[in-house]
Assembly symmetry: C2
Homo-oligomer: 320 residues x 2
């Protein structure tokens, strides 16, 4: 399939309403404007400061305090807030949605999104849950940028009875934002993302907290000598705590299943270390390289050493 990155074209929606304008919402705004995808954009968020900033940045023509006010007249509504807010938002916007509108979301879990949103969708509105697999550790309206979705995958998890032309339209929308689109069930999504995103975040949070609470190594030492690998984990662990709380509360089974496997495998590695079994260690370490090669071949990461960080980390003397 041809990739449509950055190709400006005809708008396919007259009005886009973004419920939440943080990292993902603001990036959608940047990328949709880059591609000329929508007539205009409005938004909603609870905090006055966020609303002011989103208008200042030109992310939206107008921000509303109430999601119900933002969705009026919108033919595309995307929930871009933490997953734990979905049920309330869906309930309040339901009665105000335009007939024929498409409602979607970007939440990192999908079964719970469907559970919380679908029941509140009126007849004639097309609900199709989605998740762009792209992000950074930053949040808020200033964090977004147009290129976030370029070359990344967006997963859509439509129900069986989905309107084919609504699905095609949403698919085109994400492609013109820069993504490739994959379709799967919400349950399978949650299993895949548990291992590729949720458990990685959990163990990153965990090791950072373990390091912060040692008696024999100070926080200052942990920070000073973090370039040996630890600093990579601190980046992921700087992600928004509320967003991630909601992910773990809403993808419990899949996360616990993957965590069980992780712990089992870690126990085996631990035993190999305890018994000095170098052959097992070397074998397991060697196998892990194949996956890295796959990630790079699939253009899902830069092949540059150290993420190309070399150029950006400057040669200043470290602060003691």
């Amino acid at each position: 399939m041809e990739n449509a990155v950055g190709r400006a074209g005809e708008p396919i929606f007259k009005r886009l309403a973004l419920i939440g304008v943080g990292l993902i919402g603001s990036s959608i705004s940047h990328a949709a404007r880059r591609a000329g995808l929508v007539g205009d954009i409005v938004g909603a968020s609870p905090t006055p400061g966020t609303r002011k900033r989103a208008e200042e940045l030109g992310l939206v023509a107008k921000m509303y305090a109430e999601p119900a006010d933002a969705v009026r007249g919108a033919d595309l509504v995307i929930l871009c807030s933490p997953v734990g807010t979905y049920a309330d938002i869906a309930k309040t916007i339901g009665p105000h949605l335009e007939k024929g509108a498409i409602v979607s979301d970007v939440g990192s879990v999908k079964s719970a999104a469907v559970r919380d949103i679908a029941p509140h969708m009126p007849q004639g509105v097309h609900f199709i849950a989605g998740h762009p697999v792209a992000g950074t550790e930053q949040s808020g309206p200033d964090a977004g940028f147009a290129e976030l979705f370029d070359g990344r995958w967006c997963i859509l998890t439509p129900g069986e009875d989905v309107d084919k032309s609504a699905l095609a339209k949403l698919q085109e929308f994400w492609q013109r934002l820069g993504s490739e689109v994959e379709i799967m069930s919400p349950e399978h999504h949650d299993m895949v993302l548990a291992i590729t995103s949720h458990v990685p975040h959990l163990i990153a949070y965990n090791i950072v907290n373990t390091a912060a609470h040692l008696e024999r190594v100070t926080d200052k030492e942990v920070i000073k000598f973090s370039a040996g690998g630890f600093r990579d984990f601190t980046r992921i662990a700087a992600s928004d705590p509320v967003m991630w709380r909601d992910v773990f509360l809403n993808n419990k089974e899949a996360v616990l299943e993957m965590l069980g496997r992780f712990s089992e495998d870690l126990t085996a590695l631990q035993r190999a270390i305890r018994f000095g079994d170098g052959a097992t260690l070397e074998k397991l370490f060697s196998e892990a390289r194949a996956i890295r090669r796959g990630v790079i071949h699939a253009n899902q990461d830069t092949p540059q050493p150290d993420f190309g960080r070399r150029a950006t980390s400057d040669a200043k003397a470290p602060q003691r």
Copy 2:
């Protein structure tokens, strides 16, 4: 202390012998030449291809198959090979070392380095173990670059009876390579690095292998959707298997102790997820942010979102 990054000056050693010219050895060569630190550089490594390449790249004036041949006439010898090779190398070079020479290493573990090297050092030779806390996931003579040590810490772990002027000279050497120098005991080094480097690598290797052996999620899916966090772990897990095998075989106690703490803490997180304890999750996730801020403040990582990777990961359509 003034930082001496990139400042060319008088040589402080007449001949540097590098035993091993992989990522670290070749980076020392680049940085030492940048700073005009040494008269000339020779090297040793077992593989003919590596020796040829190191000469082609101009990393050394001459490569030798035998470490004993490389150390003749050298007033600074640095072991830059996997830690498991140290005992044999120390034994074979011992009788050939110049009186007054400084012998050091760059190994990621220090108690074992001292255990394996010190007994073979003749009288009048100054042995001071060291570890530059800097690296990438790549290896071999082509992987090195002059900036690797800029703004990073190099830890030296001299014995109690160290010659003060030899220590000062080695300290100046590392500073002019671009590093700050910290002095501590080998035992404390191994504890600090267990949490800031060894356990992070172990859990990265582990989650990559867990992901590769699932029945319900294919390797292809793991790779495609790796941008949700997993790809960061694949980078670390692409590091050299032999080097890391030797690290775990030679820092067993500290790694097992830190791994025990990690697993305890992970169990607590797992319980919070199982029982839907959002307050505990949010609290633990929030705390992790402070350490990230510390790492950035100490100039041990770039403040740019996503390691600044945005600029380097290009917008090509991903390979299916």
